[in-house]
């Protein structure tokens, strides 16, 4: 009798553990510059309290909460904690940072606050069509995934134009799209979000010449939702880069139905260890 009771208890504990493991919150890191942190040019002369700076994050928080998912915004920065209704104010928004500066630190950001999903909105401070900083950032995310055996889904924004059309930004987005598609073809876990053409920001949706207003931020928040809710199997994307460097991979295909990954790769000099 006692054995049966112990056996039943073990099963119940196992079920409880599985439920807890299954319902672990999705860790989402909003990563970017002032458009993630929330800074406008007026803050130079009349800075707002940190507690009210929320950018798109509060709207995204409300949308995901309404969608019924369990999630947690992560990052070393806290801003927007005084907003009502309250939301999770953690993020990695760094005002004025270029993609190169974020790339230099993203590995450590992830080590300090591991994330399942990165929301990357960067490039406005690069003021160039060069996307080497973004390539470096994606390499650093790969390195973190490989070193810590943690898959990270990168939701990558082709960022919205400035209030007045800025040609370098349009070229930046175009090059970023090419870069991302090439990496996706090689199995990188990236979802492109085209804020430039699909978010629908108009000139009326800007607070100043670069930064969106409340309506603009709501439009950006809406664009993040579907890629976050996507049911893709992130661990499938991790497997190839556990074996070889991304530069060795020629082509990769993920089959979500068969739960498999097939990729073609050159064999590096030190071989492939499974």
């Amino acid at each position: 009798m006692i054995t049966k009771i112990f056996s039943s208890t073990k099963i119940l504990l196992l079920i409880l553990f599985l439920n807890v493991a299954h319902s672990a919150p999705l860790r989402i890191m909003p990563l970017g510059d002032s458009i993630t942190y929330d800074w406008v040019f007026d803050d130079i002369s009349n800075p707002r309290p940190i507690g009210v700076r929320k950018a798109y994050r509060s709207y995204l928080y409300y949308a995901l909460t309404n969608a019924g998912i369990s999630f947690d915004f992560v990052g070393s920065v806290t801003s927007g904690q005084d907003i009502q209704p309250s939301f999770d104010p953690n993020n990695e928004g760094h005002t004025g940072w270029t993609s190169y500066e974020v790339a230099a630190d993203v590995y450590n950001f992830l080590v300090a606050n591991p994330a399942d999903i990165l929301l990357v909105y960067l490039g406005a401070n690069d003021l160039s069509d060069n996307v080497n900083g973004m390539a470096s950032l994606l390499d650093q995310v790969d390195a973190f995934e490989r070193d810590y055996n943690m898959p990270v889904r990168v939701v990558l924004a082709l960022i919205a134009d400035f209030r007045e059309h800025f040609p370098a930004l349009e070229a930046f987005d175009s090059n970023l799209n090419i870069l991302a598609l090439d990496r996706i073809n090689k199995g990188d876990n990236i979802i492109i979000v085209d804020m430039y053409t699909e978010a629908g920001l108009t000139q009326a949706d800007y607070y100043d010449k670069i930064h969106p207003n409340e309506i603009g931020y709501q439009k950006i928040a809406n664009m993040w939702v579907n890629p976050i809710l996507s049911n893709r199997t992130d661990s499938l994307y991790l497997y190839p880069i556990k074996l070889v460097s991304r530069t060795n991979i020629q082509e990769a295909n993920i089959n979500e139905i068969e739960n498999s990954v097939t990729f073609t790769t050159t064999v590096p000099n030190n071989g492939i260890i499974f």
């Binding site: 990729f263 790769t265 064999v267």
Partner: protein, 122 residues
């Protein structure tokens, strides 16, 4: 016939001289020798015959799907490798196609270009 009778009498006399313990040891020794003889016989096929070489090449995988020893890969032939196994290239450039099902300990590998060897984890 006479010889057989004499031999039988000698054996009976010999066994009478032995105790039970010695009889058992002798019996086991006999079985052991018999076993070795059979084993030796099964290995008596010449090593490295043409028949053996064909088996290695045409049947790189065992029934359980895993390799039993280091294997020189053949172009467009599927191999199953396990965690810890290694592929080393033996040409300047070697290209492989790898298929992996999430959560499994094994992967399927096909050599597409060049030459390479699968080193089985010891």
């Amino acid at each position: 016939m006479l010889h057989l009778q004499q031999l039988f009498q000698i054996m009976v006399l010999y066994f009478k001289m032995l105790n039970m313990k010695e009889i058992i040891i002798l019996t086991f020794t006999g079985f052991l020798l018999l076993g070795c003889g059979k084993s030796s016989h099964s290995n008596s096929t010449p090593i490295g015959t043409e028949e053996d070489d064909i088996q290695e090449v045409e049947k790189p995988e065992q029934d359980n799907g895993s390799l039993s020893k280091d294997t020189v890969m053949i172009i467009n032939t599927p191999y199953t490798v396990s965690s810890g196994d290694q592929i080393l290239k033996s040409s300047d450039k070697a290209v492989v196609k790898i298929t992996h099902i999430d959560g499994q300990n094994q992967s399927n590998v096909v050599l597409i270009e060049g030459s390479a060897t699968i080193i089985i984890k010891k």
